[in-house]
């Protein structure tokens, strides 16, 4: 029944992706820098290559990357390539393709930040709902203020403190990386445990910092919802506290939270830079950071493109799911 609606939303998603790709193409070229020449000059100044052949090499590489063609041709090529999922080669790590590098980094970021975002959302939302509930256990009142205090601290700062405490002072957790160097990558118990051990520090710093925010927002919504007439009537209906709490209060209070969750999930890719750089996590944020340092045009473009697709897709999913969550929003055209 909602096929038209879904198709329309998907069309909007595609337009966003196309606009993003276009901006992504033109913006870096406005700088007038020649990334290939820069790269070669840099290497030359480090004493690797002879100065004489540089102009020659720039030409060859530019040909190779298609940078010698007119801008419009470049743009059309680029759009065609993007449509085929080809994001060109990395300039700094030449034979490797950008798609390869992103594909390698993406699971780390989605795993770490996706999981921590979902966990903080679930935990924070439930705690926030309980906080507003008169029948909630007393200890919650003592549990929450520290989380609110943590919420005010940037998570990289908390991350550094935790790192110092747990990895440096007590040495119970690894200090750096997504897995132990030299570990054999694969779906073995040993490797999975190793990855989990490495994920504890960054996860902890993100979750501890964000739970308070989710709880705060949910508590506010919950208080409003509990004042609604249908909650009073639910009580007059003699419903169990649990039914009223879950089905009448939380079910309604969670609607705005869901919007926030979709946006938060869309932003995990762009929010990954700081965590990943601090904890040396091999994800997309670290990749972007490195690419900016190396002036690696195509990788930067590729990552930014991925971020935009991620955000667009999260919004698309939210649009599709929202009518199901809140029947007052319908598929039908008004």
């Amino acid at each position: 029944m909602g096929l038209y609606f879904v198709a329309k939303r998907f069309g909007v998603f595609l337009v966003i992706v196309w606009l993003a790709a276009t901006l992504n193409f033109f913006l870096p070229r406005l700088s007038g820098d020649d990334p290939v020449a820069n790269k070669l000059m840099e290497q030359a100044s480090l004493g690797g290559y002879a100065q004489a052949g540089i102009a020659e090499m720039v030409k060859v590489y530019n040909q190779h990357f298609g940078l010698d063609k007119p801008l419009l041709t470049q743009y059309l090529n680029y759009v065609g390539n993007v449509a085929h999922g080809d994001l060109n080669y990395s300039i700094a790590n030449y034979p490797r393709t950008v798609v390869d590098m992103i594909a390698e980094a993406l699971p780390w970021t989605v795993g770490l930040l996706g999981m921590t975002t979902l966990v903080s959302f679930a935990l924070g939302t439930f705690l926030g709902a309980l906080l507003a509930w008169p029948g909630a256990p007393r200890w919650l009142q003592w549990f929450m203020p520290p989380l609110w205090a943590l919420h005010a601290i940037p998570f990289f700062l908390l991350g550094l403190v935790l790192m110092w405490l747990l990895a440096f002072q007590f040495q119970i957790l690894p200090i750096f990386g997504g897995h132990s160097p030299g570990a054999k990558v694969g779906l073995t118990v040993g490797f999975v445990l190793d990855v989990l051990r490495h994920a504890v520090l960054p996860s902890l710093s993100i979750v501890l910092v964000s739970v308070g925010g989710w709880a705060l927002a949910m508590r506010g919504m919950m208080v409003t919802t509990m004042g609604e007439d249908y909650v009073t009537f639910a009580e007059a209906k003699g419903l169990r506290s649990l039914t009223i709490f879950m089905r009448y209060c939380m079910r309604n209070a969670i609607l705005p939270q869901t919007t926030a969750l979709a946006l938060a999930l869309g932003q995990i890719l762009s929010g990954a830079v700081l965590v990943e750089v601090i904890f040396g996590y091999p994800g997309i944020g670290a990749l972007l950071f490195q690419a900016i340092q190396e002036n690696d045009f195509f990788v930067i473009q590729g990552v930014v493109f991925t971020v935009i697709v991620g955000l667009g897709f999260a919004t698309f999913l939210l649009d599709i799911l929202y009518p199901w969550l809140d029947p007052r929003i319908t598929y039908r055209r008004s």
């Binding site: 249908y230 009537f233 003699g238 309604n252």
Partner: protein
């Protein structure tokens, strides 16, 4: 005295306020016979709705039930624990909420809102059995079966109110408390909803308390009427008697304020405003607005006196 189904005895509800205790329901007693339609009328803030909530023991902080007792048959409600009281709501005493309110959960289908109520009272119906029960209930309040699948926002105000009535009668309660069930509905729909309410009440053999301030509606619907003023029940009498021969000056002025078809002309009101419950005047709370007030009214609080078998009044002059 004849058999009673619900008895309210010296019920008092107080709200704790920084500047002292506010008594929203002050020493109210009345009783309800089986099948009886009892009206509770008064101005805004006179304690009608608080009464309704207090009977169901649903007063929230800073309010509290200060004293008194509510009997449902032989059961004293203050003696019930939380869970027994919960089970008694809807099954023993059901509420029909105000018509102007959003009393239905916006994200749950009507069928499931009825299902919730049944399930939490131990009637765990599923699938077809639930669908049949819901269809019967909807038919009883004059709603088509497809309403079961609908969400509240897909229904009109009158339909929503019928759905609320369907929920209220789903466990065949002995007493229905309808708190301004037709506020915010236009007169045509109001009449239909009241007819529905009256019919299901007769089918069930339940007694009903109709809370409201529409004296015309009261005159058409109830058997006996109680008038509340500043938290007190100042007069109770059979509806015919109270309309033709009101005993309390407040009741009299209330009835005189109704426009009539025979006597055209200006509308008559009651001068002054209802007092703040926080700063009640000494003596009879109505004396500053009462044209017949005497010295005694200003100093001595009138006691509730029985006037025959089913009437009471709290006035020195009656």
């Amino acid at each position: 005295m004849s058999e009673t189904i619900l008895r309210v005895e010296r019920l008092r509800v107080a709200y704790d306020h920084p500047r002292g205790v506010v008594r929203a329901v002050d020493d109210v007693s009345f009783s309800l016979r089986p099948h009886e339609r009892f009206g509770l009328a008064g101005e805004s803030g006179s304690g009608k709705s608080t009464m309704a909530l207090a009977i169901l023991r649903m007063i929230k902080r800073p309010g509290r039930i200060e004293g008194g007792e509510v009997w449902l048959g032989d059961t004293a409600l203050s003696g019930l624990d939380t869970d027994r009281m919960r089970a008694l709501r809807l099954a023993g005493i059901a509420m029909v909420p105000q018509g102007s309110m959003n009393s239905l959960n916006p994200v749950v289908r009507i069928r499931d809102q009825i299902g919730d109520a049944l399930a939490d009272h131990g009637v765990g119906l599923k699938g077809r059995a639930l669908a049949e029960r819901v269809r019967d209930l909807l038919a009883q309040v004059g709603l088509p079966p497809d309403v079961a699948r609908k969400y509240p926002h897909e229904l009109s105000g009158g339909m929503k109110q019928r759905a609320c009535i369907a929920i209220a009668i789903c466990l065949r309660p002995k007493v229905i408390i309808a708190d301004e069930p037709t506020s915010a509905l236009d007169v045509v729909v109001q009449k239909q909803v009241m007819q529905t309410l009256g019919r299901v009440q007769q089918d069930l053999g339940a007694a009903i308390i109709l809370v409201g301030h529409d004296m015309g509606l009261m005159a058409q619907f109830v058997d006996r009427l109680g008038i509340m003023y500043a938290g007190r029940l100042v007069e109770v009498a059979p509806i015919r008697d109270i309309i033709t021969a009101p005993r309390h000056p407040y009741t009299r002025m209330l009835i005189e304020s109704l426009p009539s078809l025979e006597q055209r002309g200006g509308l008559r009101g009651i001068p002054g405003l209802a007092p703040l419950l926080r700063e009640l005047p000494p003596g009879c709370a109505f004396h500053p607005r009462c044209p017949a007030a005497t010295e005694r009214c200003r100093s001595e609080k009138p006691a509730v006196r029985a006037m025959g078998e089913d009437a009471t009044v709290a006035c020195h002059l009656a």
